[in-house]
């Protein structure tokens, strides 16, 4: 799980120096990214020489407008990627919505997301493909955004030698992504967006500005010194790491710092502890995750973990060692698997895990056991639920798991190994060591494991030449068992000094004077032995080779591997083999130096005469020195043939086989290394899900908002366009120079504008308006910002327009031009006139009708009343009125009904109608009638109504009723009178004929008298002359009748009585007096006598003997009537003159 060094050498050789290649800058952004992108790209100066690829979290359901937005903001060409584009400099490619982006061989490819929405990490995905495709030519920039998308990708960029820039978190709208990036410790630059381009430009300029190969060479020259410096400062030796990778990493550091010369850089790291740390960190780029290669861990669980738990002796711990544990994921994975297995078995977890690394910073992360929530996706849910505790964007490993693991600073190469280990999990560590280092590590692991222990390697790691130490248990899962037996190889730990596990940079910078010198002496002796001394070897007393110096191949046949037997005697070539045995024995036995001269060593091609010296070294060891004693004697041609056909044929074949096997193994290893590279890239792509999820979600939210705003804007725009096309308003928008910006369709009726006239000055356009003052108006408004309004007329004078000139305000509030709005108000004006006339009429009608108008606001209880209304209800002429005040004017007896009516109207919406009395100040009563109707506007109920004075009508009606009653009364009275006359006459008459005749005459007389009274019935007086005339009228033919007297009016009350008296007198005259048989004459006279009225009735010339003798009913009537009138009657007969006198009191005469 851990790489102490990343970057496969195989990939590197593929495309090493593309001096002409365009650097590709991948930019990852999310929420708040648009702002940062704008800021970053707007400062670009052409040519940048770089291609840009923007990966922004986009909502897959909406078209993205990012390209258009950025294109406007930046001098670079911005386009949305469609797939298959070849990257060109000075172009910006933007990820399309709903697709992922990858780079293959310099071409962009669209990919489909494998994960559901929310789990996608397009930035990581792209960075990883960018890193793999462009190697050191790649750069990545991480801008504003939430979550941590991009953090894994930048690691990939760094692994392949690219450069990483993060937006300064303080300048980012959302600092989640930049913080996560900076938190990896791998970011080269942290800059505000505006400075990022400059910084990248400088970086790539330095890169391309120097001859690469040469520089690499230069760096290679210094690499040993640099490793020594690092070892001194940090305590870790990178000498055993792959060279090419080291060179690349160091070069990159130099570019980052802007240092050209390796010598300068060497000086820098010698003097600068922090740079040492930075280089160290760069060299130890980590990629790790939980349960990497799940199927292999499953094999580990079944084949190793469960057997270990099942087979251990009671009370014994299971010991696990995880060397190169990095930030701890692998160790935690194993701990969780153990814990889960133990839980399933219901036993206490006996495991103890030692997790080691040389990077203290990583160990610190591992100890905390806190990881980004995105990593949760790697852990199967049962484990996740049981052994992790989520905390928002991060989660922690539970304490029971953490307690199983001891993290410590320890180098597998340098420090003494752990021992009695049951399982060593050493995944993806060995592949980054070169051969020599790998060779030295395997025996260490062998030593550490107990017999029957297990070794768990990464998928591309193999056990190499150590099959005999670690037979495979599961080839596919790379699980090996430790073979029994002690290792037959010495564990050659570097014999250098031990140092503190975690030195401070300051301490580590101190030099150690002793050690380099000692190293050099060793090297000198080694060199001396190999180059300048005769070949020699040390053997034990049995002849087994312990060590060898110089070129011994001429004398011995060494197998290619060290696995064969190593006895010097058996390895010796023919000729020497015979001598060597006795020589060893003799030297061993005697303890003295022994020499064998004239030894002839046979090889395939000839013979070499030598001498062999054996010198005992004590402890049963012997130094054998081989010295040539003469020139090589080649065999004759014949001999050659002979020997070839002999025994050596087999050996040649074997040799060939060995070589082939060796090549094969190298090839396999290389292949596996390359495979591992591919695999790691692949895995990282998969590891990004969850962070992306949250980021993506937030972004989609932001994006949705943006989209909806855009939608709204589109709708608004469309509305505006429709408005412009359809409105009746003539609107012309002018800019500050009075050029036409836009106009409505209606405006063309006044200004003959064509669509192409936009941009023309308004002054150049003719108009139908009377005067051109609008130009001056527009100018004035544009300057002052004050709107103005006036009326204008068309040239033909037919139309009147209202022209409003409004300042055109920009979003920032400044005035940039003016808007002319022309409204045709001709119709409105004429309507206004009509309305005014109508209103006048109405007012007149109201005034003439004495109609008061009122308005009752139900909610506030206010009443608005006009002057007439106020007068009618005797309300004050001015001021606000409340309904209570108005009701107080209503007669108390009517008030309840009025209130009820109002309530019905306001609640049920019925029309209000009421007639009520108003109490007047002079204590009179005014009858009024009011009618109202409910109107509801804006949720407020109002009752609008009128009130009129109906007092005259009321009075009239009252009078009529009174008169009807009176008439009724009189009619009844009349009936009573007639009844009375009927019964009274009945008492005096015995003859029915005369009775009925008399009765009819009297009733008729009464009727005539009554007809004198005016039909209205209230005429107070009747003319006496008329009464007399009427009474005697029927008898005019019977005699001379003279009527004489001043005009006198009789009171109505006296009419009946007077009429009856006159009637009786007349009928008497006709029956018995002057009118009988037409012989006499009658004179009726009256005159005023003081207050009284004297009426004289004089009959002459007839036989008056029987006159007025009758004392029957007639006499009774006359007497009673006279009494009623308070009249005085006198009667006198002188000859033929019959004189009746009646003195009527003043009361009879009408006033």
């Amino acid at each position: 799980m851990r790489r102490e060094d990343e970057g496969g050498a195989g990939v590197e050789t593929l495309r090493e120096n593309r001096a002409d290649a365009v650097p590709v800058i991948g930019i990852g952004a999310s929420a708040g990214g648009l702002e940062a992108l704008r800021e970053m790209l707007s400062v670009a100066q052409l040519p940048t020489g770089c291609a840009f690829v923007i990966v922004q979290h986009l909502d897959p359901n909406h078209e993205s407008m990012l390209a258009q937005l950025l294109d406007r903001a930046s001098p670079l060409d911005v386009l949305q990627c469609e797939g298959g584009e070849e990257l060109k400099p000075d172009r910006v490619y933007i990820i399309p919505p709903g697709r992922g982006l990858a780079l293959r061989e310099g071409r962009l490819q669209l990919t489909d997301f494998a994960q559901p929405r929310g789990l996608r990490r397009p930035i990581d995905d792209f960075f990883i493909s960018l890193a793999a495709d462009q190697q050191a030519n790649a750069a990545c920039v991480i801008l504003s955004g939430t979550g941590a998308d991009g953090s894994t990708g930048l690691r990939a960029i760094k692994e392949h030698g690219g450069v990483c820039v993060a937006q300064e978190p303080g300048t980012a709208r959302y600092d989640g992504m930049p913080l996560a990036a900076v938190g990896t410790g791998l970011v080269d630059y942290v800059k505000p967006p505006g400075e990022i381009l400059g910084c990248l430009h400088g970086f790539f300029a330095r890169r391309t500005g120097e001859p690469q190969r040469e520089a690499a060479q230069l760096v290679a020259d210094h690499i040993d010194d640099m490793c020594a410096t690092l070892r001194g400062a940090i305590g870790h030796d990178f000498a055993g790491y792959k060279r090419s990778t080291l060179v690349r990493r160091i070069e990159r550091r130099m570019h980052v710092l802007g240092i050209d010369s390796p010598g300068t850089y060497l000086q820098r790291i010698r003097s600068d502890g922090e740079e040492c740390e930075a280089l160290f960190r760069d060299l130890l780029i980590n990629v790790t995750r939980f349960l990497r290669d799940p199927e292999m861990f499953e094999a580990l669980r079944v084949k190793v973990i469960e057997p270990l738990l099942d087979e251990r002796a009671a009370g014994e711990d299971v010991r696990v060692w995880v060397p190169g544990c990095s930030s701890g994921e692998e160790a935690y994975s194993i701990a969780m698997l153990f814990a889960e297995a133990a839980r399933a078995r219901g036993i206490a977890n006996p495991v103890q895990i030692f997790a080691t690394d040389i990077d203290e910073q990583m160990l610190q992360i591992a100890r905390e056991g806190s990881y980004p929530a995105a990593a949760l996706a790697d852990i199967p849910s049962p484990l996740r639920e049981r052994w992790t505790v989520p905390h928002g964007e991060r989660f922690t490993i539970t304490a029971p798991i953490r307690d199983l693991i001891r993290f410590s600073n320890h180098s597998v190469v340098k420090d003494p190994p752990f021992s009695r280990i049951d399982l060593v999990s050493c995944r993806n560590l060995l592949i980054y060591f070169d051969d020599a280092l790998q060779k030295s590590v395997m025996p260490i692991l062998h030593y550490a494991l107990r017999e029957g222990g297990y070794l768990f390697l990464g998928p591309s790691e193999s056990i190499g030449r150590f099959e005999h130490l670690f037979p495979a248990l599961d080839n596919h899962a790379h699980i090996f068992a430790r073979a029994p037996g002690n290792p037959s190889y010495p564990i050659d730990l570097p014999a250098n000094d031990r140092r503190d596990p975690a030195p401070s940079p300051a301490n580590s910078a101190r030099a150690r004077p002793g050690s380099p010198r000692a190293v050099r002496a060793d090297v000198a002796i080694q060199r001396l032995a190999e180059g300048y001394s005769p070949p020699a070897m040390v053997v034990n007393q049995d002849g087994a080779v312990l060590s060898a110096y110089g070129k011994l191949s001429r004398y011995f046949d060494f197998p290619v591997t060290r696995t064969g037997g190593s006895n010097a005697i058996s390895l010796a070539k023919p000729g020497l083999r015979d001598v060597l045995g006795p020589l060893v024995r003799q030297a061993r036995d005697t303890g003295k130096r022994v020499v064998a001269r004239e030894v002839s060593v046979s090889s395939d091609y000839g013979e070499q005469p030598i001498e062999v010296i054996g010198e005992p070294l004590g402890e049963g060891t012997l130094l054998l020195i081989f010295r040539d004693r003469g020139p090589f004697r080649p065999f004759a041609e014949d001999d050659l043939t002979e020997i070839e056909s002999g025994d050596d044929h087999m050996e040649a074949l074997e040799e060939e086989l060995r070589l082939t096997r060796h090549k094969l193994r190298t090839a396999v290893e290389e292949l596996e290394t390359a495979n591992e590279e591919l695999k790691s890239s692949n895995e990282e792509m998969m590891s990004m899900n969850e962070e992306l999820q949250s980021t993506n979600e937030e972004l989609s939210t932001v994006n949705d908002e943006l989209k909806s705003k855009v939608d709204q804007l589109t709708v608004a725009n469309s509305d505006l366009r429709n408005f412009f096309e359809s409105t009746e308003l003539a609107v012309i928008v002018l800019d500050a120079d009075l050029r036409i910006r836009s106009f409505t369709e209606a405006a063309t009726g006044i200004f003959p504008l064509q669509p192409g006239d936009r941009g023309r000055s308004l002054a150049d356009v003719t108009s139908r308006l009377e005067d051109a003052g609008y130009l001056e108006d527009a100018r004035q408004v544009g300057e002052s910002g004050e709107p103005l309004m006036r009326r204008v007329r068309t040239r033909d004078g037919k139309r009147t327009l209202s022209m409003r000139v409004l300042p055109y305000r920009t979003q920032h509030g400044s005035v940039a031009g003016a808007t002319l709005v022309l409204t045709d108000i001709t119709d409105a004006l004429s309507m206004e006139d009509d309305l005014a006339t109508e209103r006048e009429r109405l007012d007149l009608a109201i005034k003439a009708g004495g109609i008061g108008v009122w308005e009752y606001l139900v909610d506030s209880g206010k009443v608005l009343a006009d002057a007439t209304n106020r007068v009618l209800l005797e309300l004050p002429a001015e001021g606000d009125l409340s309904i209570d005040r108005v009701l107080a004017r209503v007669h108390p007896e009517d008030r309840v009904e009025v209130e009820a009516g109002l309530r019905r109207a306001s609640v049920q919406g019925e029309d209000f109608e009421a007639a009520f009395r108003v109490m007047l100040a002079d204590e009179g009563i005014r009858h009024v009638k009011s009618f109202g109707r409910v109107t509801s506007a804006k949720g407020r109920t109002r009752i609008v109504g009128t009130v009129i004075d109906i007092t005259p009508e009321y009075t009239l009606a009252e009078t009529r009723a009174l008169m009807l009653r009176e008439m009724n009364h009189r009619v009844k009275n009349l009936f009573a009178v007639v009844s009375g006359m009927v019964s009274a006459a009945g008492r005096t008459h015995h003859d029915v004929r005369s009775y009925s005749e008399d009765l009819r005459e009297r009733i008729s007389a009464l009727g005539r008298a009554h007809s004198l009274a005016a039909p209205s019935g209230d005429q107070p007086a009747i003319s006496l002359a008329d009464l007399v005339e009427t009474t005697v009228d029927a008898y005019r033919g019977l005699g001379a009748i003279a009527i004489e007297g001043p005009p006198v009016a009789i009171a109505r009350a006296s009419l009946s009585s007077l009429a009856l008296i006159l009637h009786e007198w007349t009928t008497n005259a006709a029956k018995y007096g002057a009118l009988r048989e037409g012989q006499g004459s009658l004179a009726i006279r009256w005159h005023h006598d003081g207050d009284a009225l004297q009426l004289d009735w004089i009959e002459r010339g007839a036989d008056l003997s029987g006159t007025h003798e009758a004392s029957g009913f007639g006499t009774l009537l006359v007497t009673t009537s006279a009494r009623q009138l308070r009249a005085e009657l006198s009667r006198e007969v002188e000859g033929d003159c019959f004189h009746l006198a009646m003195r009527l009191p003043a009361t009879v005469v009408a006033a």
Partner: protein, 116 residues
Amino acid sequence: MSALVLIAEDELIVAIDVESIVEEAGYRVACTCESVASTLAAIERLMPACAVLDVRLLDGEVYPAADVLSAAGVPLIFHSGHADEANLRARYPAAQVCPKPSSPSMLRAALSRALG
């Protein structure tokens, strides 16, 4: 000694008619008055046993006199064309009302009820 009946009636012929009805029924007419004032004066002189009253007299409505009579416990017979019979009954619950024109038999019956 037959009972005295007071008649208040401003219409001459009706008065005559009522007088004859009263007398024919065997009572004596105490006085026939045509006005409120004369009625009051008559009562002052002699309280009748019964009174036949028209409501409207020459000088106004008969009520002042009716009140005095009613207070004195004199049975009242209103002989009137006046429409407001309900008003009369409310005002003088004990009184009888014979609306005009009423037949002699009705008046006689009323008189006998009042004096019987």
